[in-house]
């Protein structure tokens, strides 16, 4: 069953049902254990760490996790709450108590209406996946201007990079203001040329998410496009 060389298993593509390890390790995300053995549950790349074995998936829906920052879109307005689409299978109600303003009953529309984009934090979800979100934390706000880009949620870690290196470089080299939500939505604001550059770079990251030396490649792309612009 084992394909690829076993020594270099960090790069191995695995398919649901594939045996990853006999035992001794914790079954991380993208895996499951049965009868003391660990199997892949998603299509992705096998990742082995001293204590845990997991699969980094190629695709999949965003599942809200406590503490995640996400970019949401208002899809409905009620008398005391907004309904926010957070790009997951579950809609998230945002109650007036969770926003940074004092909102009278029935006056929700004065603050935000359908189509507005907001930066939110996931407070938590119960076993039925009813989601609680909030805007009461520093940095959380309604996002005006700019544009929203959607990528596959499984690619978000690559856009951010280790310790935020990738996103920091993107911001420095384009001068754009960028927020990356864990749900795969990216909000970008800046002048048009720079936005175009940033979008190009992000699309490239998404396309080549698993390539080697990605940061270097993106850097080159950005330098190239700024040289052309000058």
């Amino acid at each position: 069953m084992a394909t690829g060389d076993s020594k270099d298993n960090a790069r191995e593509i695995v398919v649901p049902g594939e045996l990853l390890a006999i035992s001794g390790k914790r079954a991380g995300p993208g895996t499951y254990s049965e009868g003391g053995k660990i199997f892949a549950s998603q299509l992705g790349i096998k990742s082995v760490r001293p204590d845990m074995i997991s699969v980094v998936p190629f695709s999949g829906q965003y599942m809200p996790l406590r503490g995640d920052l996400v970019v949401g879109k208002i899809v409905d307005v009620g008398a005391s709450n907004w309904l926010v689409d957070i790009n997951s299978p579950y809609p998230a109600p945002l109650h007036v108590n969770e926003v940074p303003w004092r909102v009278e009953f029935g006056e929700t529309r004065k603050f935000m209406s359908v189509g507005d984009v907001v930066l939110l934090k996931i407070v938590g979800s119960d076993e039925q996946k009813r989601i609680q979100i909030t805007m009461q934390d520093h940095g959380l706000r309604k996002l005006t201007g700019g544009m929203v880009l959607e990528i596959s949620p499984s690619k978000v870690p690559r856009v951010i990079g280790k310790n935020g290196s990738m996103i920091q470089m993107l911001k420095n080299m384009t001068g754009c203001r960028i927020y990356v939500g864990q749900n795969g939505r990216i909000w970008i604001d800046g002048d048009l040329d720079n936005i175009v550059k940033a979008v190009q770079a992000i699309r490239m990251i998404e396309e080549e998410a698993h390539a080697h030396g990605l940061t270097e490649k993106v850097k080159q792309l950005l330098e190239q496009s700024s040289a052309q612009g000058a």
Binding site: R11, Y32, S41, S59, G67, D68, G139, H210
Partner: protein, 258 residues
Amino acid sequence: MGGMTTDLKLIDEKGLRLDGRRPDEMRPLKIEAGVLKRADGSAYAEWGLNKVMAAVYGPRECHPRHMQNPERALVQCHYNMASFSVEDRKRPGPDRRSHEISKIISEALSHVVFTEYFPRTSIDVYIEVLQANAGTRCAGLTAASVALADAGVPMRDLVASCAAGKVADTVVLDLGKEEDNFGQADIPVGFVPRTNEIVLLQMDGDLTPDEFNKGLHMAVNACKNVYEIQRDALKRRYSARAVDEEVPAPAEERQEVA
């Protein structure tokens, strides 16, 4: 089954079938994953003269609401044959047969998908038969499980599927159209290779217990073959993009936002 008669010689003197296959030989199968851009996951399968497309959407909010299960996701399959998929035009729209096939494929897939991870949602699987030549439910199930994996839906294993049957008093594997029409029996099998479970089993026609066991055995062995082709299709989809970097652990790169 067995209702129709023909002067066709389904098995010749050498023991070969109409298309020259041996009794235990499968038609050639090709699968390609990720063929539709707008779907969350997709697969296209060519199995002999069958051409089947499968698309997966979700997990997504379940509509109508009363169908939601508060504890798990619903796997909803929609099997459809295109009006041009058979020689005589097929009257479009759902009918008894397509309802049945949708139901059994949904049930087969529900056994491998981790439905408990996605309460209140539905995972929609669409199977479109573009060209039919017997064995479309097996081709559909095979393509659908590749499409599910392509969509990133967590599952215990892929479901592989193949049929066996009885033609001219011989037990054969993977019936073709003439064999299906004029044969004596047909047994489609859905199989989970990792756990050796059967998740789909039907029988049309009559078989003795011995013949049944022989046919089932043949079909299960063929499923293992199908399984390898499915795995290959999924791996091929991504190996094109050189995968040569140590993958960062998901936890390390979470959280960093602004």
